[in-house]
Subunit: 197 residues, 2 copies
DNA sequence: TATTATAGTGACCAATCGGTCACTTGTCAA
DNA sequence: TTGACAAGTGACCGATTGGTCACTATAATA
């Protein structure tokens, strides 16, 4: 399996593009970080833009797989406390995993410079999370955990604040644990405000 | 008042930096857009970085003035409907004003490349809006419009979703009116869920 | 063994960038 | 009138960038 260099290039490209932006990333540093010379990159990709597009392809594929997993969503929690720990588990992973952090950075910083990134950002930051939880909330309303109301609106009211706090954690990594506490505090507030009586 | 060229440069720099990023912006285009030669810029600022810093100074000053206006906040609305139209007025302005749109773009896209931008982004996207509305909600609870609960948490639960929709409007300008409708729908949902009985 | 394809190298190229400098122009005060 | 100064110009510079090319090394195949 010696096409692994192609993959290693993409892994490094994510770091480089996320930290410096598309224009700010340069192929010499990227190659050096891989222990390669710059011209070696051109044996695997025909241009900087080709690396960029391959990276976006990979991100789109990853995202499509995640959305596919929405069809078999996380099983409905039996209690509100279980919902909280389920949520916090997902969020903690999303906030700590380096690759996901870099992906969010790239989506944020390049969303106005690239059409594909813009579309991915809209999916990721607005529709994606909301749809997952809308489905979950429907089930939780039917099982009598949550008060009955518009599940899409409820999911949006839930995911948007979490999303804002995750972005804040990305900005100030040294406050990550504090942000996770604020996220849990919000979730508990939210559950309390919308649970069935 | 012939220092106006200095100001014109900053106005154009906001556009240029917001659309292309710090690294992507180049002084030749910026000068050309102003009807100047590139070397003329150096009669007013000593470097690209100096223009950048002057622009951030201006943004910080503007933000400080806006925060200063929190000491004399918008007067407490007498009814919930008045609160909704007050909010929508502020939001509509913030979503439509070109300069504010560009400022948000710049804060978003450069927050990981510049320390001052990072701090401004944290203030603007997290604490800023929340603090304004926390004060307003305290007054509305005391006047019996809203159910009594943690005003800071309530303000966060209110401003974060609005903020997410504003960002979406920035991304997809052609859906601006649709986003404004979604914002109003959310605000009405929010008011209904938290009004005093 | 000879051949061929793949991966990698380093020197080089043209374009672009931020920045400098000698020079011109216009204005206003002495 | 003249001199000083601020504003603006265009040619130029060194550094960096994405990209090319002739070349080497290695390993598998015929």
């Amino acid at each position: 399996m010696e096409n692994s260099t192609r993959e290693r290039i993409l892994d490094e490209a994510l770091i480089h593009f996320a930290e410096n932006g598309y224009k700010g990333a340069n192929l010499r540093d990227l190659a050096a970080r891989l222990g390669l010379s710059k011209s070696a990159l051109y044996k695997h990709y025909e241009s900087k833009e080709a690396i960029w597009n391959a990276l976006l392809d990979k991100m789109e594929a990853y995202y499509a797989r995640r959305v596919g997993s929405v069809d078999n969503p996380p099983q409905t929690p039996a209690t509100l406390e279980e919902f909280i720990s389920l949520s916090m588990g997902m969020i903690r992973f999303s906030v700590c995993d380096p690759q996901i952090i870099l992906t969010r950075k790239l989506l944020l910083t390049e969303q106005f410079h690239d059409e594909r990134v813009r579309r991915l950002a809209s999916k990721h930051f607005l529709e994606g999370m909301t749809n997952i939880f809308a489905g979950l909330f429907v089930a939780m309303m039917e099982s009598g955990l949550l008060r009955k109301e518009d599940p899409t609106m409820l999911a949006f009211a839930y995911t948007a604040p979490v999303s804002v706090l995750i972005h804040h954690s990305d900005r100030e990594a040294e406050h990550r644990e504090e942000m996770l506490n604020r996220i849990e505090a919000f979730i508990r507030y939210f559950v309390l405000a919308h649970k069935a009586d």
